[in-house]
C-alpha cells in the first residue's frame, strides 16, 4: 500500500495513429489522486482528457497505445499487470461512466440485468443480493420509482435518469475509483443539475475517488476538489478548485473564463417594424402536435434568442419559418406579407431572404464538394454570378469569415477544423445575401474558445451587414452574450418573451426562473446553495 494515494500516474505518454503514422497525443502527464478525492480534468476537445481518463484504467482505445510512464493504482502497476488482472480490476475497483448513457446501455437488456452483471461476474455478490442493492442505489440516486425502474429497458427511461442509472451501475461493486467522462454534457441544463447533484452525493456517501472529465469549468467547479487543466496532451496547471477559480495562473486557463465574459454592447435604439412575424402558428408531425399557438416578432438588425429544453419546439418553429414544415394553423409574415406555408410554393427571392446555419457542420456541408462550390452555389443560384465574378465573390466571403481565400478555396470540408466548418456554414448563408439567418444551436457542438470566435464573427457580421438572427440555443450564457430579444419555449408553447433585459430581470415566469437558475456558475458553492434554496421553496 502506498498510504493515502490511490492513483499515481507519472509521465504518461500515449500515441495515437492517423493513417500510417503515430503521433503523441498525451505528452507526459502526471496525476495523483487520493482516496475519496474528486479531480476535475478539463480542456477543449483533443486535449487528451478522455485518453488520460481511460489510461487510469490501464486501457487505451483502438488506434492508441500507451508508450511511456507508469500508472500505479493502489500499489499495482497497471502497465506491468496482465490483461486478465486488469480486467479483474475494471468494473470492480475502477468503474467508468460514459458521456452518452443512451448509447452505452445495451438496448436489449433491462437496466437491472445490466446492473447485476458486474457484481455477479466479479463474484462480489449473488444475483438476488445485487438486485436488492440496485434498488437501494437507485433510491440513493433519487431515481423515481426505485423498485420498478430497474425492470425497464433503456429506451423507456429519460436521458437524465439513464445517466443516473449508469452511475448507480458503476457503484455496484463499490469501486475505489470512478471515471466520469462528460456525464452531463449531453443533457439539458435543468436535467444536468439533477444528475450533477446525484453524482456528487453518491461519491461523497461512499467516499469514492473520482476523475471528472468535462469541458465545462462551471460544472466541474461544483463537484471537484482539485482541477487539472489540459491542453494538447500537456498539463497547463493544477490547483485546488477554489484557488483556481479565484486566481488562475496561466493565460490559457484565464481564456477559459473569458469566453463567458464575452458580451455584445446593448442596443439602445428602438426596433423597426417586424421583419418576420409569427402569428398563432400550430404545427404537428403526423398526428403528434409539436407547436401550439406560437407568436412572436423578429425585428430587422436584431438577434432574437429562442431558448428551451430539448423537445420544446425551438427547431420546429425554425422549420415552419423556412417552409420545411407547413403549419396546421397560423401564418408567418415576412416584411408584412404572408409567406406561402410550403417550401415549393415560395419564390426564389423568398427562399433567398431566409437562410439557415446548422448545429452539426459535419452533416450540413456536403463532404464531397470543395469550398468553392459549397459557398459559390447560393451566389450562383440566387444572384446569377458566373465565372470570375463568382470566384471573386467566394473569395470575398472567405475573407469575411476570416479564412485565407488562397489557402482554403479548393479544400474539402474534411480538411477543416470544427470551428472552420461552422464558418463555412456561415459563409454559405451569407452568399445568398439574406435578411434573416436562423442559427440552430450553431455553437453547441464547439469548444468554448471556438464558440467565442463564432459568436464574435456573427456579431461583427450583424453590425456590418444589418442581418437579423433567430438564434436557437439551450445555452443561457450564449443568450446573455448576444441576444436582443428572448423567446422562452416549453412543450411547444411560448411561455415568456420580451427584450433580454426584461427576461433576465426578476420577476420571472416560473419556467424562465427554473431555466435561468439552472445555469452553472463559476462558484463552488453554487450547486449547494441552489439546492438549499429550491428545497426551502418546497
Amino acid at each position: 500500500m502506498s498510504g493515502d494515494i490511490l492513483l499515481k500516474i507519472e509521465d504518461l505518454r500515449i500515441e495515437g495513429r492517423s493513417g500510417d503514422t503515430w503521433s503523441e497525443i498525451v505528452k507526459g502527464v502526471d496525476l495523483t489522486l487520493h482516496r475519496g478525492e474528486v479531480l476535475g480534468l478539463i480542456g477543449e476537445s483533443g486535449a487528451g482528457k478522455s485518453t488520460v481518463g481511460l489510461a487510469a484504467m490501464g486501457y487505451a482505445r483502438d488506434g492508441c497505445r500507451i508508450t511511456g510512464g507508469t500508472i500505479e493504482f493502489d500499489g499495482i502497476d497497471l502497465r506491468r499487470t496482465s490483461e486478465a488482472q486488469r480486467r479483474g480490476l475494471r468494473g470492480k475497483r475502477i468503474a467508468y461512466v460514459a458521456q452518452s448513457a443512451a448509447a452505452s446501455f445495451n438496448p436489449a437488456h433491462r437496466l437491472i440485468d445490466q446492473y447485476a452483471e458486474g457484481p455477479v461476474t466479479h463474484g462480489v455478490m449473488g444475483r438476488d443480493k445485487a438486485e436488492e442493492d440496485a434498488i437501494e442505489l437507485y433510491r440513493r440516486m433519487q431515481l423515481p420509482d426505485p423498485e420498478g425502474i430497474g425492470f425497464r429497458y433503456p429506451h423507456q427511461v429519460s436521458g437524465g435518469q439513464l445517466q443516473r442509472a449508469m452511475t448507480a451501475m458503476a457503484m455496484a461493486c463499490r469501486p475505489d475509483l470512478i471515471i466520469f467522462d462528460e456525464p452531463t454534457t449531453a443533457l439539458d441544463v435543468t436535467t444536468q443539475i439533477e444528475v450533477l447533484a446525484a453524482i456528487r452525493d453518491i461519491v461523497r456517501q461512499f467516499d469514492t475517488a473520482a476523475i471528472y472529465i468535462t469541458h465545462d469549468l462551471a460544472v466541474v467547479a461544483q463537484a471537484a476538489d482539485r482541477i487539472k487543466v489540459l491542453l494538447r496532451g500537456e498539463e497547463v496547471e493544477e490547483a485546488e478548485t477554489r484557488a483556481m477559480l479565484a486566481a488562475p495562473r496561466e493565460d490559457y486557463t484565464k481564456s477559459l473564463w473569458a469566453v463567458r465574459s464575452f458580451a455584445r454592447p446593448e442596443r439602445t435604439d428602438s426596433p423597426g417594424a417586424a421583419l418576420v412575424s409569427v402569428q398563432g402558428v400550430s404545427a404537428a408531425y403526423g398526428k403528434v402536435p409539436v407547436l401550439e399557438d406560437v407568436s412572436f416578432d423578429l425585428h430587422p438588425g436584431r438577434t432574437m434568442a429562442v431558448v428551451g429544453e430539448s423537445g420544446s419546439g425551438k427547431s420546429t418553429t425554425a422549420r415552419v419559418i423556412t417552409g420545411l414544415l407547413p403549419p396546421s394553423a397560423g401564418t408567418v409574415l415576412f416584411e408584412g406579407s404572408p409567406l406561402p406555408p410550403a417550401l415549393k410554393s415560395r419564390t426564389r427571392d423568398q427562399l433567398r431572404q431566409v437562410q439557415m446555419i446548422y448545429q452539426m457542420a459535419d452533416t450540413a456541408l456536403n463532404p464531397k464538394l470543395r469550398l468553392r462550390e459549397l459557398i459559390g452555389r447560393p451566389a450562383q443560384m440566387y444572384l446569377g454570378l458566373r465565372g470570375r465574378a463568382l470566384e471573386a465573390r467566394v473569395r470575398d466571403l472567405l475573407a469575411l469569415i476570416e479564412l485565407e481565400p488562397d489557402t482554403y478555396i479548393d479544400r474539402l470540408p474534411g480538411e477543416l477544423s470544427g470551428g472552420q466548418k461552422q464558418r463555412i456554414g456561415i459563409a454559405r448563408a451569407l452568399a445568398a445575401e439574406p435578411k434573416l439567418i436562423i442559427c440552430d444551436e450553431v455553437t453547441s457542438a464547439l469548444d468554448q474558445i471556438v464558440q467565442e470566435g463564432i459568436l464574435k464573427l456573427l456579431t461583427r457580421l450583424q453590425d456590418e451587414l444589418g442581418l437579423s438572427y433567430m438564434f436557437i440555443t439551450h445555452d443561457i450564457a450564449t443568450v446573455r452574450a448576444i441576444a436582443d430579444d428572448v423567446v422562452v419555449m416549453q412543450k411547444g408553447r411560448v411561455v415568456d418573451k420580451g427584450p433580454k433585459a426584461q427576461i433576465f430581470a426578476p420577476p420571472h415566469e416560473p419556467y424562465t426562473e427554473l431555466l435561468l437558475s439552472s445555469v452553472p456558475e463559476m462558484d463552488p458553492d453554487w450547486l449547494t446553495g441552489l439546492l438549499e434554496r429550491r428545497a426551502a421553496q418546497g
Binding site: 427562399l351 437562410q355 439557415m356 452533416t363 464531397k368 447560393p378 443560384m381
Partner: protein
Amino acid sequence: MGFAATVTLGLAGLFALAWVIRAGGRAVLTGQSRSLVNDMPLTAAFGLLVILIYAIVAIAAPVLAPFPEREIVGSQFQAWNAEHPLGTDRIGRDMLSRLIYGARNTVGIAFATTALAFVVGSILGLWAALTGGWLDQLLSRFVDALMAIPALIFSLLLLTIFGTSVLSLILVIAAVDATRVFRLARSVAQGIVVMDYIEAAKLRGEGAWFLIRREILPNAMAPLVAEFGLRFCFVFLSISSLSFLGLGIKPPTADWGSMVRDNATLITFGDVTPLLPAGCIALLTVAVNFVVDWQLHRASGLKEG
C-alpha cells in the same frame, strides 16, 4: 516450355510494364494528374494497362486480326502452327482472329450493358430515395416484382418477344441488371438524403436533378463503383449463358462465351485452346476489379489529398 510458364511469364511482363509506365508517369506528370499516379498501387496500374490493351485490340480488331472474323480459312481443329498461331476451330476459322474480334463483341456489349444498367438503375434509385412517398413505392414495388422472376428466365422471355439483335440483347440484360443497381442506389441514398446538407440544398430551392447529380451522387459513388466491377463480370456470365442457349450473340459473330462451348471437345485431347477465351474474360475481370478497388479506396476518402 509449357503453356503455364508462358502465361506466368506474360503476366509478369505485364506487371513489369505497368510498373515502368507508372514510374514514367510519376517522373513526367505534374499537378492533379501527378497526385493520381502517386497513390496508384501497382495492381491498379496493371489493371489500367490490361484494360487499355483490350480497348486497343477491340478498336483495331480488323487491322490486328490476320484473318477475317467469319471466314473458313483452313481445315477443322488445326493445331497451333505458323499460319494459325492458335489453330483453327471446329469449322476451320482462325482462332486468333476470332479471339481478337471477340474482344470487340463481348467486351463492347458487356460494357455497354453494364453502363446502361448503372445509368438507369442509379438515377432511378437516387430519385426514388430523394422523393420518397408514392413514387418510391411505385418504383420499388415494380422492381421487387421484376426481381421476383428468375433473371435468366426473364431475359429469355424478353428476348423471345423482342428478337435477338445485339441491341435488344443489351437492353434486356441492362433492364434486368438495373433492378439490382436500383436497389443498391436507393438504399445507399436513403442514408444520404437525411443529412442536413440535403435539407440545406432543398431550402435553397434546388431541383431534383441538381440534388441527385451534385449532392447525392458524389457521396454514393463508392459503393456504386464497387458494384460496377461486380456487375460487369456478371454481365459476361449472362451473355455467355444466353449465347449457350442460342439467344445471345448469333453464331457467325465471334463471342468468347460461345467460343469456349464450341471448342470444348478439344479439352479431352489435352489442348488448352478452348480455355483461352475464358482466360481473356478472367484477365479482364481481374483487371477491372483492380481498378475498381483503387477507385473505391480513393472515393471512400481514406487517401484524400
